[in-house]
Amino acid sequence: MHSANHLSNARQLLRRLKPYRWMLLQALVFLIVLDGLRITQPKFTQYAIDWYIIPRDLTGLRWLAAIYLGVLIVSALCQFFLNLLLKSAALRALADIRNELFQKLQRQDVAYIDSTPTGRVMTCLTSDVEALEELFTSGLTDILGGAIRIASVIAIMLWMDVRLTLVALITVPTFLVATTFFMRQTRHGYDVLRGRLGQINIFLQEHLSGALIIQIFNRETKSIARFSEINNQSRAASMKPIYHLALFFPLVDLIGAVGVALIMWYGGWRVMSSGGKLLSLGALVAFVQYSGQLFQPLREIADRYTGLQGAVVSAQRIFTMLSLPAEIQSPSQPRKTGRAQGQIEFEHVWFAYNDEDWVLKDVSFKVEAGQSVAVVGRTGAGKTTITNLLLRFYDVQRGRILLDGVDVREWDLKSLRENFAVVLQDLLLFPDTVESNIRLGREEISAERVEWAAREVCADHFIRLLPNGYHTTVQERGGGLSAGQKQLITLARALVSEPSLLILDEATNSVDTETERVVQRAVERVMHGRTTFQVAHHLSTVRKTSLIIVLEHGEVYEQGNHQKLLAERGLYWQLYQLQSSTLRVSVALPKLS
């Protein structure tokens, strides 16, 4: 199973290198020339001894040295271009893989991203891709180049003396056995090690994001201790492969030395027994040097062994992520695209995030285009889930949701979402300018329009007071902006584009009552005649909507407008009573003049 995996991983890797095959082919040419030149070097020694030194030919010797200088210059140039081409192909292929992973994430189910620690995904896109770099560059030069060099050295050795070559190659099977043994021993170790590294990333992501909570609660010592624990585990995991790695390199050396010893022993005997006829003394020296060259590539591979092994494990993780199935996709032939009227219908919708823990049970309601709707209920009643389903972050398990009479699953996904503008509960701003945060990449929106939207939601005033006004960069944790201010920016973001449908998920709960009222009016103005979907607590907002849906334990408890629900004296009436009573129990209000 392992080898099948490796094969498919190798095929996947090769596929990513394919666009750069011309670059790689050129690199291969340089590689062959380079290796060809490199193996001539012992020959120079041999000819120097046999042709010039023994016959005492000084001029010939000088010529030989000059030729060798030429060889060196060509080698240096080849080396340079080889590296450049290889790196360039590898870096581009890696950038492609990184892009591919990122694109995959943009299309991956929200459910996957919700349930996978951010740190793990980050590890894949950063360290795992970087680990592949080793495989693509050193791997290619060392393994491919090494193979060529070994093959050509063997060819020359065979040409020089077949029997001696066979003796010299006796050690090769030993080497292969040793390599497979170490491969098997360390693979598991690297797997564990990379897993540990992932854990470090997961921990860091969470604990750096939450650094302030940790500090306020005096948990620094505890957090540091826990990090230390994970860090220790990672170190422990690295120790086992280290022993193998430390042993592997000297072992390769030793096998090489045994090869030299064998050559001396058998070669020396051949020189002795034939008086230099079967094998010249110079040839023996060259043979010793060649056997050194035979092991040089193996040494280099041995030295980069950690990186290569790590890369194999990383490749596995990358391709696993790339092959994850995404459930929620745009239909290949959408029944509907473009702008929606805004009519929404939930038909017996059942939904659970996991298994059968139903969050919504048989929910049905209908919203006419242009109507404004409020969803009320206790926290955890499933209000936000309705938003998740409308935007198709998740798909329903039973029943269906219709937009303009068409199941949302049959809508073109991009069009579906473009019809909505959303203000989510999380006050999320990107570390970009305030203007970009309102525009959010929609280039067609003018700067004037951005300012208009900000004015509508009472954000213009404070934005202008920021150091660079609309061009002030927001920091990651929104430093410098209060939660209320951030909320106003997210509101401006939703209103700026005149959407067909607006979803406000508790979108004004961080702002004061006065601002809330102004914002509500702005929403009414901008969304006049368009569908607005609000999750709200403030009954003042709820009261004015044409439809109120009361959720309780995932079921629609009752629905209707304010008057109707009050008249029914049901749950809404109770909530209403409770909420107004919290205010009413107070002293009589003196009249304001």
Binding site: I49, F80, Q106, V285, R378, R417
Partner: protein, 576 residues
């Protein structure tokens, strides 16, 4: 070089290991260098005529010597490798400890993704300095030092000629080194951007999907990705030139041997065996020299990363005192603001001006006011998330500047506006801020925070995993968990910064009432937009553009018929 100084102390605990490594490296190099001599002598003997027994002895010697050398090499490598992993571990531990002591402003300046890169990728790059770089350098140095006498013994003039190229090689390494370092620092910075981008993208997944920004995100990511490739390419061009030059210069040695050494052999100044031996020595030098090239690359990348790590380490932690404050008495909870004016660095105007307010311990004070008028800033000053100017904020009569942060914080229960829970069980999240909490404590805190009913519906009750790897809680549930997290500490000062905005007014009222009943004598500071939440406070302050514009009890303020009364009227009118 100053960067390297910071790294040296990390070697200290592993002195012994390093010493063994140096000795073994020296010994193994010495022993393996015997091999060319043996071969040279064997060749000379062959030339002169040799018998079987002698040849076998030569063979056995080569193998024996190689085994010893190999063992020493193994020892050397194991010492250095383990040392480098220890140093990596120590450095990462230290760095994390340091980051955890950084002030509020630090986390605004450095994104999570960037910090993560520094703690992982950069630390690994530095590990190579203490690992492969040490191995390569020791080998190169010893091979040179030890080959030198062998070569000098054969022919001093030839040896000197060979080493003529050495200064050139060093010059090349130095000349390129600086630029390599600068470029790798840029590359690491881009790596930080990549990781930050991924992090933002994942955090903002709903927003990005809802606004169909996937393609724009991909484009932006591709841009960073491309600049990463471009920067890396420019680095590798440098590497390429540097390596080719170095290899060329090493090759010159061979030319000299053939040309000049051959002449010496012809003239009989050296034997053919010595000529061969010389060649073999040179071949021995090639590997360490290539390795030295690698070492220089690794070293420079590591130095660039070390500079990035030091940039963080050089940020002075504001919290220098030990966090163990168990022996200090808890604070009573009296808070005083004296003529407090506060301006963020870089801001045009102060957010808070001339605040004078004294809060007796055990009192509840509420703050109301428009969005962005400085209420949160005021709250952040008390646990010293932001440092107030000297002698403006006092706790128990002591200027905050003179108190230990840890001491003040130990007595504070703080619930910020935006809730962050950790990927852990609900119980662990609630018990986050206390050293020991049994289930009864957790249940008590959850009960006060109005969580009990919700927990009953969770698959595994208090042991349900929440956060990234578990159940997704609703906004209101998260906020109530955060309240429980603060309450379980039984704090002397409780700060609720609009902490129940995702909970309906009725539930909020219920939670606040229980809080008052359960925890007597605690000072409470409540920021809220709802009159119902602040009505029962001992004192209500209306904050307007950073100043207290009105203060008094609910009744007093209503009688004043100012801002507060207007606010109340409005809310009443809207909700009635």
């Amino acid at each position: 070089m100053t960067n390297l100084h910071g790294l040296i102390p990390y070697f200290r605990p592993y002195k012994k290991r390093l010493a063994i490594a140096i000795v073994c490296s020296f010994a193994s190099v010495f022993i393996t260098l015997l091999v060319p001599g043996i071969i040279g002598r064997a060749i000379d003997d062959l030339y002169a005529g040799l018998d079987w027994a002698k040849l076998a002895r030569y063979t056995a010697t080569i193998i024996g010597v190689s085994i010893t050398g190999g063992l020493l090499l193994f020892l050397h490598r194991i010492c250095v490798f383990t040392m480098s992993r220890h140093i990596e571990h120590d450095l990462r531990d230290d760095l994390y400890r340091h980051v955890q002591r950084m002030p509020f402003s630090f986390f605004g300046a450095y994104s999570t993704g960037d910090l993560m890169t520094r703690l992982t990728g950069d630390v690994t790059a530095v590990r190579h300095i203490s690992g492969m770089v040490v191995i390569y350098t020791l080998q190169a140095v010893f091979v040179f030092l030890l080959t030198l006498p062998f070569m000098l013994r054969i022919s001093p003039s030839l040896t000197l000629l060979l080493f003529l190229t050495m200064p050139l090689i060093t010059w090349v390494a130095q000349h390129f080194g600086k630029r390599v370092e600068a470029r790798s620092e840029e590359i690491q910075a881009i790596a930080g951007q990549i990781s930050a981008r991924v992090q933002e993208n994942l955090t903002g997944v709903r927003l990005i999907r809802a606004y169909a920004r996937e393609e724009a995100e991909e484009k932006a990511f591709n841009q960073i990705n491309c600049s990463y490739v471009a920067q890396s390419m420019s680095l590798h061009q440098l590497f390429g030139v540097m390596r080719s030059l170095m290899q060329f210069m090493m090759g010159i040695g061979f030319v000299l041997i053939i040309g000049y050494g051959g002449t010496l052999a012809i003239s009989g100044a050296i034997t053919i065996g010595q000529f061969t031996e010389f060649n073999l020595y040179l071949a021995r030098l090639i590997w360490p020299l290539i390795a030295a090239g690698n070492a220089i690359n690794l070293y420079q990348c590591g130095m660039a990363s070390l500079a990035r790590i030091n940039a963080i380490k050089n940020v002075e932690p504001e919290i220098t005192e030990p966090t163990d404050v168990s022996e200090l008495p808890p604070i009573a909870g009296r808070i005083e603001f004296r003529n407090l004016t506060f301006k963020y660095t870089g801001a045009n105007a102060p957010v808070i001006s001339y605040i004078n307010l004294s809060i007796e311990d055990g009192k509840t004070v509420a703050f109301v006011g428009r969005t962005g008028t400085g209420k949160s800033t005021l709250m952040n000053l008390i646990p010293r998330l932001i440092d107030p100017p000297p002698d403006t904020v006092f706790v128990d009569g002591i200027s905050l500047h003179n108190c230990s942060r840890a001491w003040v914080r130990a007595s504070i229960g703080y619930v910020p506006q935006e809730t962050l829970l950790f990927s852990d069980t609900l119980a662990e999240n609630i018990a986050f801020g206390v050293n020991h909490a049994d289930r009864a404590d957790v249940e008590w805190a959850a009960e006060i925070a109005g969580l009990t009913d919700d927990v009953r519906n969770f698959p595994e009750g208090f042991d349900t995993l929440v956060g990234e790897r578990g159940l997704t809680l609703s906004g209101g549930q998260k906020q109530r968990t955060a309240i429980a997290r603060a309450v379980i500490r039984r704090p002397r000062i409780l700060i609720l910064d609009n902490a129940l905005s995702n909970v309906d007014a009725y539930t909020e009222e219920k939670i606040l009432t229980r809080l008052r009943a359960e925890i007597r004598g605690q000072t409470s500071l409540i920021v809220s937009h709802r009159i119902s939440a602040v009505r029962d406070a001992d004192l209500i302050c209306v904050i307007n553009q950073g100043r207290i514009s009105e203060r008094g009890t609910h009744d007093e303020l209503l009688r004043q018929r100012g801002e507060y009364a207007a606010l109340y009227e409005q809310e009443l009118a809207e909700d009635a």
